[in-house]
């Protein structure tokens, strides 16, 4: 895939420009150093010293033989840029992204001759390039080229001076160069290197391994592996998609969504979901089923009923997403669904007509209408009308739903409204008392975008109650002013409900959020927003942002990386929108297919790089699925691979990674701690080590207590296999190979150096134990085994010291980088 930036074209050290750094290049650099050949600093000044010397030749040789040397070649400022490349790098990114805030079809400069479109629109680069070219060609009545140069200096410009542009600034010079390029186009710069050139990728089976861990919390089955190994990319897509079932997938979806929505805050007793619904006045049947259970079965069951009901109420917006995915409904229903989802515990509260009220299962989710609220006609628009979502993002009398609008843009359209105007032009303008959000350009930059969407939340009060005051949800402080007329639903001194320059029809007043949901679902940015939302869910990090500071040394590298990412996002969003994503058989806006596309994209499958150096490192900084597993993911992986959770043996349903160590291991509580750690620190690193030390013994004992064909961990070896026989060594090595795959996803041969290492570990521990004549009792000899030996028919004596040696190998595996990261 070629991307619109030349930043990766030159490889530091590649003297002969053949795409690789070899010994021949080192010789070439040496010839340059002694003056008998020529080469630019961008290619041959490896150490960035400003000249090419014999040191650079030595470093080139180091690069050629695979040493990890950083190439710091001086960037070539004279590098050829095509017109579109120049436009993207020098005009759009640093300049027009500021202009487009007002100069867009719905912005406050929409009535001028200078209207651009934002980067969420298809073909925005070409459109905006042509917009300036056309504007520059105006000579009738005004001179367009002159205005392009003078307006951003603040000369007769409603937006004042922008970006500090003066006649002496770099931006000004770049605009002059663009005008020159309109007259003298540069369309070719020779052959460009592809961005992904030199990047190595996971095999299809390795992709499947990772996808299975993330979506299913387990390794692939043999059948799944074979289908992928013997098949093509379509088989890979189908197999990945088939992983997306069951509790592990639902958990993945809901954890990911909660990282944004944070509605799991209401799982906590102190901030429970009953409080969100505001008691029996608002929801008369709020406690009906709990009271019934308590009356029949007693207090303890009543308490359980309370917990299950609270969980059902709190989880409703997350379960909606799970429901949409599981039943292959269009993802647009996240904002358009004319239903909510309920289970047997929440259905009585909402008085849905779903026929599940005699059931007890928490997993039995159905669609239904909220008829439990004290008023009839509760409107539904997916997450937008969820009481939990609305309460998690509350409003105030002066905020007037603007925060909610901000999150709508962020979650569903991928737009950070606050970033529209990170820096004020004139701070004192904020003192404006003439309704500045309507009239002051410094404020309307954001408010013209936010406020119409805020107004569509008009029917919901600050805490999320529908028509809180029966006829409206306006605060009494406002209703006492002259601005209020009886019957108003919204503030008369704010923008009316709408979106994207379109005013909501009057007839939609009772269901304004439904109108908003339907409208944004049709917006071209919706698909792109979904891609970014689920990229962050899958990768555990936000997409790389567009670099904004050209002065930074890594600017061009980061820009190239961003462009490559952007190209992938655009492609995936297009497929998501038109129904060709993934297997392409489940219609438009299919979430599972979107996830399949992300997994098979090079953003995920990139594994390594054959070329390094400062520039290339900046380009690839965000590439590859390199993720520290969250506590929840590590818990699923551990249980899926080991066959049992890491938990106290008397409370196996309360895994330590979800309880006592969750926050230590970078997890969130959705209340005060809402950002996950994405890298290890010293304290975090002790968590998997404790897991390994506690669990290695019970895992080994339980597994060896099974017959060989029923074992997960030791299928190729018996406790009688010792290193002092050839057959024993072979069996041990074969099982080490298996463990490297099973725990670490590595495909190794029995003579691989890593197999040698694990075998050596086994042998060293075994030798120590034999030589030291250590205790052979597995309950307590050589340390406490965290296993209730009375609960099953377990091996208790390690006659050959092999089980304890395998325990050491298991601890080694469980603490490995490849186990705690994916």
């Amino acid at each position: 895939m070629a991307v619109a930036t030349p930043a990766s074209a030159q490889v530091c050290g590649d003297w002969n420009d053949d795409g690789n750094v070899t010994a021949q290049d080192a010789l070439g650099v040496l010839q340059v150093a002694i003056g008998i050949a020529s080469c630019g600093l961008a290619t041959c000044d490896i150490d960035g010293s400003g000249s090419v010397t014999s040191t650079d030749a030595l470093k080139t040789l180091g690069l050629a033989i695979g040493q990890d040397i950083e190439g710091d070649c001086t960037p070539d400022t004279d590098i050829c840029l095509t017109d579109m490349e120049f436009f993207f790098e020098k005009i759009w990114t640093p300049i027009q992204t500021d202009c487009v805030v007002c100069h867009n079809p719905t912005g406050i400069a929409a009535q001028t001759d200078h209207v651009l479109i934002d980067d969420a629109q298809m073909g925005y680069l070409e459109y905006n390039f042509n917009a300036w070219r056309d504007y520059a060609s105006i000579t009738d009545g005004k001179i367009g080229a002159e205005l392009l140069l003078s307006k951003p200096q603040g000369l007769a410009h409603g937006g004042g001076q922008r970006l500090g542009i003066t006649t002496g600034s770099a931006h000004h010079a770049n605009m002059i160069e663009l005008l020159d390029r309109f007259e003298n186009p540069v369309s070719e710069c020779g052959e460009q290197a592809e961005f992904w050139s030199g990047v190595t990728f996971l095999t299809n089976n390795q992709v499947l391994d990772k996808a299975a861990i993330v979506f299913a919390g387990r390794r692939p089955t043999v059948a799944e592996q074979n289908r992928v190994a013997d098949g093509d990319v379509e088989d890979l897509k189908t197999t990945i998609r088939d992983l997306m079932t069951g509790n592990a997938f639902s958990d993945f979806l809901m954890e990911s969504a909660n990282d944004h929505f944070l509605t799991d805050k209401f799982l906590i007793r102190q901030s429970n979901a009953f409080g969100v619904l505001k008691g029996v006045y608002q929801y008369p049947d709020l406690y009906r089923r709990i009271d019934l259970v308590e009356a029949i079965y007693g207090d303890e069951m009543g308490s359980d009923a309370w917990t299950m009901t609270n969980r059902a109420l709190a989880r409703e917006p997350l379960e909606l997403i799970s429901y949409i995915a599981r039943f292959d409904r269009p993802y647009t229903e996240i904002v358009t669904a004319n239903y909510m989802v309920v289970n047997p515990w929440s259905a009585p509260v909402y008085k849905t007509k779903a026929d599940i009220q005699s059931d007890w299962s928490e997993e039995n989710w159905h669609a239904g209408q909220n008829e439990g609220y004290r008023l009839n006609g509760y409107p539904h628009a997916g997450v937008l009308t969820s009481p939990m979502f609305l309460n998690r993002f509350p409003s105030t009398a002066t905020n007037r739903n603007r925060a909610r609008a901000r999150w709508v843009y962020k979650f569903f359209l991928g737009i950070d409204v606050e970033a529209l105007s990170p820096r004020l032009v004139d701070p004192t303008e904020l003192e404006d008392a003439d309704n500045p959000t309507m009239n002051n350009a410094n404020c309307t930059v954001c408010h013209s975008v936010i406020d119409p969407v805020a107004a569509t939340f008009q029917n919901f009060g600050d805490d999320g109650l529908y028509l809180e005051h029966d006829e409206d949800s306006l605060p009494s402080s406002y209703k006492r002013t002259d601005l209020y007329d009886h019957g108003d639903r919204w503030y008369s001194d704010m923008r009316v409900p709408g979106f994207g320059g379109v005013t909501m029809p009057e007839a939609e007043t009772d269901a304004s959020l439904s109108w908003l949901g339907q409208t944004i679902a049709q917006d071209p940015r919706f698909a792109r927003g979904a891609v970014e939302f689920w990229y962050e869910a899958l990768f555990g990090r936000a997409p790389a942002g567009r670099p904004s500071d050209p002065a930074r040394a890594d600017y061009r590298g980061r820009l190239a990386g961003w462009v490559a990412q952007d190209a992938q996002f655009t492609e995936i969003a297009d497929k998501f929108r038109d129904g060709t994503a993934g297997t392409g058989r489940r219609g438009v806006y299919n979430l599972k297919d979107l996830l399949v596309e992300l997994v098979i994209s090079p953003l995920f499958t990139a594994k390594g790089t054959l070329v390094s150096g400062t520039q290339r490192n900046a380009e690839l900084a965000n590439m590859g699925f390199v993720k520290l597993l969250t506590p929840e993911q590590l818990n699923r992986k551990f249980e899926g691979i080991a066959g049992r959770p890491w938990a106290r043996r008397w409370s196996l349903d309360e895994p330590d990674l979800l309880g006592r160590y969750r926050l230590f291991y970078g997890g969130i509580d959705s209340s005060g701690i809402i950002e996950r750690a994405d890298e290890l620190n010293a304290l975090m690193s002790t968590v998997p080590q404790r897991m390994a030390f506690e669990m290695a013994c019970p895992l080994a004992v339980v597994d060896f207590s099974e017959t060989a064909n029923n074992r997960n961990l030791f299928p190729a070896v018996e406790p009688t296999d010792t290193p002092d026989t050839a057959a024993g060594e072979q069996a041990i090595r074969e099982n080490v190979v298996w463990l490297h795959y099973w725990f670490l996803g590595e495909y190794l041969a029995t003579d691989d150096p890593e197999v040698d290492r694990a075998y050596a570990l086994f042998t060293e521990v075994w030798t120590m134990r034999v030589a030291g004549d250590k205790h052979t009792n597995l309950r307590w000899g050589g340390g406490r085994c965290e296993l209730d030996f009375n609960e099953g028919d377990y091996i208790e004596v390690d006659e050959n010291h092999t089980i304890r040696s395998w325990i050491a190998v298991l601890a080694y595996m469980i603490t490995d980088y490849r186990f705690i990261y994916e």
Binding site: R423, E431, P475, D549, T609, V626, G672, G782
Partner: protein
């Protein structure tokens, strides 16, 4: 239990060339003996949401004929501390706070944060720059002083961009820390899971494998970074044992002197325990409640009380622990609040801000620098005399100046991270005690 020692780790880093290629703080750490940290202890206190300096350290009184700027000035006047340039509003617990600490503080007023966006304001205040990617001061200090330390940077929220200089940690619950410090010990007794000699063998092989993983030449940058972090974390976790001395059975009751739940108390306690154990250089504390778009005075009063009570507890405990002379504190917020009340009796976002630097026994304290007018607009000051200067030589104080001053006070100026993340602001002689 033994883990990879520093000599091994240095060797490991050398093998894979990390000393030359990563921005992580691995270079200096292993050329020096790492004893328990005894250098400056940095604490930042974020008043999140955007505080109102006009009811705190940049008091404004109502001007006849103008719209009301502060309700407290209807019946009261600005308080001035004799012999100090510091003034404060008679509001919340300000009197208690400023009268006690004025000799240990430098108030910086009239800071133009240039934004009214929360995200941008937070970034600007705590990194000194508006563009993304600049580290928080705490990350910078952790990089300079925290090489080889397991918990150099603690955070409780707020701006915590590290720019790859350090990793941060959240440490809020002491009950389970003991079990993590000695991972081979059975909880609740002294039994072990594995013989110590076998644990040593396992860890040696773990680290050998990690070395081999890092030595691969074809690693993607994210792989390289993650492996380096894992190696760094493992190499330094033995030092966590120092925490066993200082850890209480439970943290302080989080109810403050005014009867309010105040998370700053436990945050401050953990910060000082970890710093006192020699494990931590910098901690970010955070308290919210300042985004008072409605009912400003009541809500802001409560938030300010929490803030000043929390800072007071921090200094009291530092005194008690013998750490007060090492403590350097920066108190700040996203931005300020409008100089007028809105229809909901609230105040909205306003870019003009203040900050307070605190340290004991310094000549540059007991002063206020920077200025704003009666409408809380920033005034330019002369970079040398610090007097208000509307002329061409006047400079507007910006967050970068505060951050520069903190870097200077903290001995961070001139370091490699300081050089790598230079702050773009003309010089203003904020710390000169003679002006």
């Amino acid at each position: 239990m033994s883990t990879l020692d520093r000599r091994d780790f240095l060797k490991l880093m050398g093998v894979v060339g990390l000393t030359a290629v990563t921005p992580w703080p691995v270079r200096k750490a292993f050329a020096q003996q790492v004893d328990p940290y005894t250098g400056p202890i940095f604490v930042t206190v974020a008043a999140s949401g955007g505080w109102d300096p006009t009811v705190f350290c940049d008091p404004k009184e109502n001007v006849p004929g103008e719209r009301e700027i502060t309700q407290w000035s209807r019946n009261d006047v600005t308080r001035t501390i004799t012999g100090s340039g510091i003034t404060y509003a008679p509001f919340a617990n300000n009197e208690q706070f400023f009268e006690r600490f004025h000799t240990d503080m430098l108030v910086i007023n009239g800071i133009d944060g240039e934004t009214n966006s929360h995200d941008t304001g937070t970034r600007h205040t705590w990194s000194g720059q508006i563009p993304e990617g600049y580290p928080s001061f705490s990350a910078l200090a952790a990089a300079v002083y925290g090489d080889g330390m397991p918990l150099p940077y603690l955070t409780n929220g707020g701006y915590r961009e590290t720019a790859g200089l350090a990793t941060y940690a959240e440490v809020s619950n002491v009950r389970d820390i003991q079990d993590l410090i000695n991972v081979n010990r059975v909880p609740g007794n002294d039994d072990l899971y594995h013989d110590e000699d076998e644990v040593a063998v396992v860890e040696r092989y773990m680290n050998d494998r990690l070395t081999a993983q890092q030595a691969r030449a074809d690693l993607l940058p994210r792989h390289r970074r993650s492996l380096a972090n894992l190696a760094y974390a493992r190499a330094n976790r033995d030092q966590l044992n120092a925490l066993t001395v200082g850890l209480p059975d439970q943290l302080v009751n989080p109810i403050d002197q005014d009867g309010n739940r105040n998370d700053l108390l436990q945050q401050a306690q953990m910060a000082l325990i970890c710093a006192g154990s020699g494990l931590t250089v910098a901690t970010d504390l955070e308290t919210g409640g300042f985004d008072t778009h409605s009912n400003h005075d009541n809500n802001h009063r409560t938030a300010l009380q929490r803030l000043t009570n929390g800072i007071t507890y921090l200094w009291d405990l530092a005194d008690e622990m013998g750490l007060a002379d090492r403590l350097i504190v920066l108190v700040g917020s996203d931005f300020g609040r409008t100089p007028r009340y809105n229809d909901g009796n609230g105040k909205d976002h306003w870019p003009i801000n203040s900050a307070i630097l605190m340290k004991k026994n310094e000549a540059w304290t007991n002063r206020a620098v920077g200025a704003s007018d009666e409408g809380h607009n920033a005034l330019s000051i002369n970079p040398a005399t610090l007097a208000v200067d509307g002329g061409s030589s006047g400079e507007t104080v910006r967050p970068a100046h505060v951050q520069k001053a903190l870097r200077q006070i903290g001995g961070v100026s001139g370091s490699q991270p300081d050089s790598d993340f230079q702050l773009d602001a003309p010089f203003i002689d904020i710390l000169n005690p003679s002006v």
